[in-house]
Amino acid sequence: MKFIVAIIKPFKLDPVREALTALGIEGLTVSEVRGYGRQKGHTEIYRGAEYQVSFLPKVKIEIAVKSDLAEQTVEAIKTAAYSGQIGDGKIFVFDLAHVLRIRTSETDAAAL
């Protein structure tokens, strides 16, 4: 199994989720993160004190999938999250050793 982590722009979350559902992926986990990269941040000024805000709001999506689905999943995310502008984000793929569904104790592929 593979574990896919994608860092995307926040407003791309809904399109990505829809693309994944279309692929038959039924579960994923999302968190709010801040990203630092090529995309420039912005400056905030409060009474003359400048703060360089270099971290930008991003969304992290985590999806565990069967290995044979991994490539398609990455492809689907890439397409849905693409805007062509700097800061679109990255997709990371990991090997996943083991999965368990708490409710049923099913494991591995059956648990996804």
Binding site: E44, I45, Y46, R47, G48, A49, Y51
Partner: protein, 444 residues
């Protein structure tokens, strides 16, 4: 009382002073006047003014300041405003009111009215004509005594011990606020005798708190991480609520200082509104030019700067005068709180000196410029623009004397406290936040 026309001496002294002298039974107008009688309309307006001036501190200042600090310290800031409100109320009852408004001293009152001795439901302010209840005056003035030390706390936010805040507040109120209030408003007070104009407390409240704030932040030292860590305001929504309530409450602060629901009170509302608006726009546009963007913190800060600047003048100038005072207050406080402060390098966390100190000084001086007989009804010229240059000198004298007195005594109090108990929290507490460390609470 209500009619500004009867207030000729007040022209020279400010309405607060006028009240002081009345209280002290200076029978100036009593000769062929009717005996004093309660005017329910005037009293109603002063009761309301009291209520909304109290609202300036809780929750006004609390929120204005609370929104500007980091999230880990927001409760500590609210705590300071709230506890100061309680502490000063009790002190005012015990000796504060008496020392400020009883007796005839040049520098301070006496203890004849300690514990509100002699105050009854029938006591009236002054000897003749329609007037308000003395009890009303007592609590109206109490709200001024409350807000002044609460303002100072903005300068020491995020690093002062709460125990030190309480003790400093009590000492400062008795050793600085009360004497200055007496000198400006109390019967026999030197600034009063001198004829300094301070309608609603520019000197007593704003210059006083601003100067003490500057001293306090210098004695305390900068916040850990100042200029290296991000200290951006955590929630300006709170700050805007606070600024709005300050503005609203200032109608009681300035309007109530007319001591009646008169046309003069209405005019004070107008000058207050115009000055606040002009200053807010001035700050906003200055910021827009200098920093490229107009900010809500800027417009709110500007409004407060304008409110501060108009305070000593509110009942002495026209709407036009108020406009210029606001404009000057907004622009000057903008530079004082940004470029100048950066250059000087002190860490006045929330710019109490830059807004209240500087704005108070600008306002006190410009009062001497724009005060006019058109509004005060005086027979002689009043301000510089009417040709009375002497008023400016008196104003400056009162300002300088206040600054010197306040700075020295504030410094001594802080230094002594620091020696005895330490006034600053340790670095770990600063890092983790005062909310958890000092108060065992946090905002989720």
């Amino acid at each position: 009382m209500k009619s500004i026309k009867h207030m000729v001496p007040a022209v020279l002294t400010g309405a607060g002073v006028f009240a002081g002298s009345l209280l002290a039974s200076v029978a100036a107008f009593a000769q062929d006047a009717d005996p004093a009688v309660l005017d329910s309309g005037d009293n109603a307006w002063l009761l309301v003014s009291t209520t909304i001036v109290l609202m300036m501190t809780i929750p006004g200042i609390a929120l204005f300041y609370g929104g500007m600090v980091r999230k880990k310290n927001v409760l500590s800031v609210l705590m300071q405003s709230f506890a100061i409100c309680c502490l000063i109320s009790i002190l005012w009852f015990v000796v504060g009111y008496s020392l400020a408004f009883k007796g005839e001293g040049a520098f301070i009152g006496d203890l004849s009215g300690a514990f509100f001795k002699g105050l009854t439901v029938d006591s009236l302010l002054g000897d003749s004509g329609p007037t308000i209840s003395e009890a009303t005056f007592v609590i109206f003035q109490m709200t001024f005594a409350i807000i002044t030390p609460a303002l100072i706390m903005g300068a020491v936010a995020e690093r002062m011990k709460f125990s030190a805040v309480l003790i400093f507040t009590a000492l400062w109120s008795l050793l600085v606020y009360v004497p200055i209030a007496h000198m400006v408003w109390g019967s026999g007070g030197i600034f009063l005798e001198m004829g300094a104009l301070d309608f609603a407390g520019g000197t007593v409240v704003h210059i006083n708190s601003g100067v003490a704030a500057l001293v306090a932040c210098l004695v305390l030292g900068k916040r850990t991480g100042y200029r290296t860590e991000n200290m951006a305001p955590h929630n300006l929504v709170l700050t805007v609520i606070g600024a709005s309530l300050l503005w609203i409450g200032w109608f009681g602060f300035n309007g109530g200082s007319a001591l009646g629901a008169s046309g003069g009170a209405a005019m004070a509302l107008i000058t207050t509104q115009i000055a606040a608006s002009a200053a807010a726009l001035a700050w906003m546009f200055a910021e827009w030019m200098v920093h490229k963007k107009p900010s809500v913190l800027g417009v709110a800060s500007g409004a407060v700067a304008g409110l501060v600047a108009i305070t000593p003048a509110a009942g002495f100038v026209t709407a036009g005068g108020a406009f210029w005072i606001g404009l000057a207050g907004g622009v000057i406080c903008f530079f004082a709180s940004t470029a100048v402060k950066r250059k000087l390098g002190y860490d006045d966390s929330l710019d109490v000196f830059g807004v209240h100190g500087v704005g108070g000084i600008v306002g006190a001086i410009l009062t001497g410029v724009f005060a006019t007989s058109v509004i005060t009804g005086a027979d002689a010229p009043v301000g510089l623009l009417e040709g009375n240059g002497g008023q400016m000198m008196v104003q400056i004298y009162a300002i300088v004397a206040t600054i010197i007195y306040c700075a020295i005594v504030s410094y001594i109090i802080l230094k002594v406290l620091d020696l005895i108990m330490g006034i600053r929290v340790d670095v770990d507490s600063e890092r983790e936040g005062l909310d958890i460390r000092l108060h065992g609470e946090s905002v989720l």
